[in-house]
Symmetry: C2
Subunit: 411 residues, 2 copies
């Protein structure tokens, strides 16, 4: 039997939903080493903190004696997971898949214990899969069941293409569970349907159905959307220490407690103290955020690198002697005035939009004088002196015009 504290951490911290929680707890208490399945799509080889939430859960369970089975989805990646996607995706070649897998594993084992993990490739079983096997699998589920899945339903209703191949994706993922005899499969909340198909297929094929363990979605550094590479609001596990520290320092104050909960081992009692602390206006959240940034940087590097990153931040960013308070402008508001589809805006118009210059003429004067600078949240800076240059500020960046005029961009 696990202690109540350990059990609480396992089933409540960094958990969105477990189907079924009761069965999972019984499995945990049985003393039997569990087979923890996680699949990964090698078309997406980069691991960021959003993924780390789940990897940390695997690590916690490894420390209790359980075994991780990582499935390299070299077959499903050729189809492209339609989960949560709004369009059919292009297929990858086998070479691309294998190259990406190598890169992924190097990052994966920064969190997960390699000694208690087994890596298998779908090609071990799908390489010899026959048409008869496909027929045996596809005969067990109906088109309607699959079209009920939220993303399929929406695409179907909007008459956007769903390739017949895409119906195979959940089936192949489910079959993986049968092959490796998975006890628990892990995924984001957008994986619920696929995880449940695995659970159902195992039952149909005489196995104990797996538990479906869904992790919450981590909000990115913009404080609004799911962390993802394509939204450029992510912190990669491969980030250099200064970049990693600086990016974490750019998250909004409202995300601090959440990041502590999902990405650190801060004990539950300290977490409660932190949340109470942050809810009081009198407290400056900067110190809490710096400890968070140090903690995470330390996890992926080492204490010395984390110290150095912190020193760099204090010298370059905090040393800029920016005022504690300054006008802010949300990137969403700025986007409405963008000059390009990607949200970029011309330097002269940026000055007017932020209120740092009263007119285009004044903006051009400031720019040609070399009086305008963009200070990034991670410590970098660049002078803006071309009025026609396109600029794309990120959350946490500060725009300076002359000595005393500043605007900070927020997510």
């Amino acid at each position: 039997m696990l202690s109540p504290e350990t059990l609480d951490t396992i089933v409540n911290r960094g958990v969105s939903e477990i189907i079924s929680r009761d069965e999972f707890v019984r499995m945990l208490n049985s003393g039997r080493p569990l087979r923890l399945k996680m699949g990964f799509d090698p078309s997406r080889p980069d691991i960021h903190l959003g993924h780390v939430v789940g990897l940390r859960k695997l690590r916690q369970l490894q420390e209790l004696g359980h075994q991780v089975i990582l499935i390299v989805g070299d077959w499903t990646a050729q189809i492209g997971d339609p989960s949560g996607q709004s369009a059919t995706r292009p297929m990858l070649t086998h070479e691309q898949v294998m190259e990406n897998a190598q890169s992924y594993l190097r990052q994966f084992f920064k969190v997960v214990d390699e000694d208690r993990a087994q890596v298998v490739q779908q090609s071990e079983w799908f390489g010899k899969f026959t048409l008869a096997d496909v027929i045996g699998l596809t005969g067990r589920f109906t088109v309607a069941q699959f079209l009920q899945r939220a993303d399929f339903a929406q695409r179907f209703a909007e008459q956007r293409a769903i390739a017949i191949t895409e119906l195979l994706y959940p089936l192949l993922q489910a079959y993986d569970s049968v092959v490796i005899e998975s006890d628990v499969e892990f995924g984001g909340t957008d994986q619920m349907f696929n995880l449940l198909v695995g659970r159902e297929l195992q039952g149909m094929m005489g196995q104990t159905p797996q538990q479906c363990f869904m992790m919450p979605i981590l909000v990115g550094t913009d404080g609004v959307q799911k962390m993802s590479k394509s939204l450029d609001n992510y912190v990669a596990v491969d980030e250099r220490p200064e970049e990693m520290y600086g990016k974490i320092m750019s998250i909004g104050d409202s995300q601090i407690a959440n990041y502590y909960e999902l990405l650190t081992d801060l004990p539950a009692s300290s977490l409660a103290d932190l949340q109470r602390d942050l809810s009081q206006d009198s407290v400056n959240p900067m110190e809490h955020k710096k400890r968070l940034a140090w903690d995470i940087t330390n996890q992926f590097h080492d204490p010395a690198s984390a110290d150095a990153a912190q020193a760099h931040f204090e010298r370059v960013v905090q040393g800029r002697n920016l005022p504690d308070e300054m006008p802010e402008l949300s990137l969403a508001d700025l986007k409405e005035q963008a000059d390009a589809p990607d949200g970029a805006i011309r330097a002269d118009r940026l000055l007017v939009a932020t209120g740092l210059a009263p007119s285009n003429a004044e903006a051009r004067r400031l720019l040609t004088q070399g009086a305008v600078e963009l200070l990034t949240a991670t410590g970098g800076s660049s002078r803006l002196d071309d009025e026609r240059a396109f600029v794309s500020p990120s959350a946490g960046d500060v725009l300076r015009a002359g000595r005393r005029r500043f605007v900070r961009f927020t997510g």
Copy 2:
């Protein structure tokens, strides 16, 4: 170049639709021997006159030098063709498939010239089909395209199950066309969707798209529904001469010209004469029907057998000295009073329903006296003497009660 008469027979007689007719005519006139594809589902090993319409078309084209490729659908039969079906069908074992194929071929070559035909099995290519092949195929079509097919659309709308496997059926059939490099594929009108998928896939894979040749549906001996084994309104090519002759004699007068057109070589000019003849009330259609029955019986047996079958019919059926005119009752009306789901009715209630007995008591009296007989259209007869026996009359059967009371059942 074909003569206008020959071309007219090929593209107009026994044809429902050709996509595209112009391309097909150009192919015919090119002088190149064409590869004529017909697939057959070995879960349905019995050939009846409804299938013969298409087989005769193959035979006509063979006589012009073209080549028939018959595909034994040993893989698609394991799925079960959903075309025109309203429910998922059970799968066949490989043994059942091969047994049925042997029986089918024996019947098939009663019409088709074996010397200009090649028989291939899907297992020659699908036996080594891999998951990659399946992905390559399913990636080319969308779920929506397939759900537009009438039978799928209806089942989907009515929330009846469509197994994902069933979406594979048209794809596999289409792939057959690619493998054998089909020039023309033949099928019933309910096969249009599948034939067109083959045409499309060939084009996608760099081949000249096949022409889709659809044959009309033959009405069964009940004069109402498509000829089919399950509706018991069929004439099998394996039928003994007397049975075959008698069953053809049981068709309605309105079907005579149609049967001549689709199932005999009666020249177009004679066919026109026949149709004019039959449209005049003064003409007795019996002689035309007897020549038709003789012609078809001769096709599947020989002149002597056809003569003998005709003599049997004249002696046993016509020799019963039934009145030329007698009351008639449609099987549809009778079915409304049926006592069993299959349309059977109790002997005593049948007598009342047909008006041959005024009451159940009188019906029972007639039955126990041995005064009731069912005379089948094919020359058979059976005495009804058990009031509780269930009876299922067919079209053309006559029920006799006593010496002079008759009712004929019509389709």
